[in-house]
């Protein structure tokens, strides 16, 4: 069964660009919804929205992918030095590294682990998405100006058609959240488009 969705009235253009999207060629990416990050950014509200999006995606057969960032002792020093408050990278297997229960993962999601901010770097996620025939990506993640945007940038270079879900992302400050999303949409969508979760859920449920 394949559901075909109507275009999203996104900023700065109706998404996706050619109107081609359905349950078989789309994935919802939940990036970095980890206990420590949600606590640091006070992003419980954004995590609840991500959970609602994931539930809606599951109902329509849209793939849900969750990624988490963490360092190990044998990882590059670049990852291990990121201990400063604000946008910390947590050690694998610590409580702060775990997915926050709020996002309501069911075990049906595909999970990718990464040591830096770019979930497309060295994880195999691109090959996995291509193998599934997925070309449209919906981004929810923390923080907007860190892991989320680093990953959307990379996916955009790879030719994926990208949409950032504004209220399912939170920045390390309100100004950085807004600034990063403004840069995303600049030049008719330099890095993709921006819309609200309600627009996505509404498209899924029709």
């Amino acid at each position: 069964m394949t559901d075909v969705f109507r275009k999203i009235d996104a900023h700065p253009y109706a998404w996706p660009f050619d109107g081609e999207w359905g349950s078989q060629d789309t994935a919802l990416l939940l990036l970095g919804f980890q206990a420590g990050t949600v606590a640091d950014l006070q992003a419980e509200g954004e995590a609840e929205i991500a959970a609602a999006l994931a539930a809606s995606a599951r109902n329509t057969g849209v793939a849900v992918v969750a990624t988490r960032r963490g360092y190990r002792d044998d990882h590059a020093p670049a990852a291990t030095r990121r201990q400063a408050p604000g946008d910390r990278i947590f050690k694998v297997d610590t409580p702060e590294w775990q997915f926050v229960p709020t996002i309501g993962l069911t075990g049906s999601e595909t999970v990718f682990d990464h040591q830096g901010d770019n979930a497309f770097h060295g994880t195999g996620i691109e090959a996995w998405l291509r193998g599934k025939g997925i070309r449209n990506l919906l981004f929810a993640g923390l923080p907007t100006d860190g892991l989320m945007h680093a990953s959307q940038r990379a996916a955009n270079d790879m030719g994926f058609e990208c949409l950032a879900i504004r209220d399912a992302c939170k920045g390390t400050s309100a100004a950085r959240h807004e600034g990063q999303l403004r840069i995303t949409a600049f030049g008719n969508g330099l890095f993709g488009t921006v819309a609200m979760s309600e627009q996505i859920i509404s498209a899924f449920s029709r």
Partner: protein, 223 residues
């Protein structure tokens, strides 16, 4: 201990590279693509003298020098459909014929680096189809082959290809520094937002410095 490099200085200046991003006619010269779109190239042009100064410091100090150029193969086989569509909405898209040849196509006049910053013999030019210099190029392989561990990044635009290359440089394990006075965006608010994001928390992916800091750092290391 270094205030310029994110962690520690390179073992020698030969292990550091100056990376000049996309100082091409299409982005920062009259008659190029951005100019033909009716956008102001004053911001991107304004950093040409500062980038020239950074090049002089790097060449004098014996750093490796890399230049990048964004553009696509003439048959556009490396151009994603949504990227072409997105740019054509402006009226003049990638691959279309403009005043400086086909927009962002390899080999065309608009694709060339501005004459003020022309690469010298022995410097490496990386042609890239994306915003990150690491995407679909041999940039990482070339850096590793030369034993490079540290990158000093300048050029245009700060919010786009400079930010992408800086972030991915971190992912690939390089110590990266952006020179704030040697980079610009088409629109100033996007440049300011980018600098705020890159500087936050002491620099998550590397450090932000300037020409003076670069000159000091190069002067403080001897091969």
């Amino acid at each position: 201990m270094s205030v310029f490099w994110p962690q520690d200085p390179p073992e020698s200046l030969g292990k550091a590279a100056l990376v000049v991003i996309d100082m091409q006619v299409d982005f920062c010269a009259p008659g190029g693509w951005v100019d033909q779109l009716g956008e102001d190239v004053a911001n991107t042009r304004s950093v040409i003298p500062a980038v020239a100064e950074a090049l002089a410091i790097a060449r004098k100090g014996g750093l490796a020098v890399f230049h990048t150029r964004e553009g696509h193969k003439p048959d556009l086989s490396d151009l994603p459909a949504n990227k072409q569509w997105r740019t054509r909405v402006h009226g003049l898209g990638i691959g279309d014929e403009g005043a400086s040849g086909r927009i962002l196509v390899r080999g065309e006049p608009g694709f060339q680096i501005v004459p003020e910053l022309a690469p010298l013999a022995g410097e490496t030019v990386i042609d890239k189809p994306g915003k990150s210099s690491f995407h679909a190029t041999d940039f990482d392989a070339r850096l590793k082959a030369q034993g490079i561990t540290h990158l000093v990044i300048v050029g245009v635009t700060s919010d786009c290809c400079v930010q992408s290359t800086f972030r991915d440089g971190y992912e690939h394990g390089y110590q990266c520094v952006v020179l704030e006075d040697c980079t610009a965006a088409v629109e100033a608010p996007n440049h300011e937002a980018t600098m705020d994001i890159l500087k936050a928390f002491g620099g998550r992916w590397g450090s932000v410095s300037n020409l003076q800091g670069f000159g000091g750092a190069v002067g403080g290391i001897h091969d």
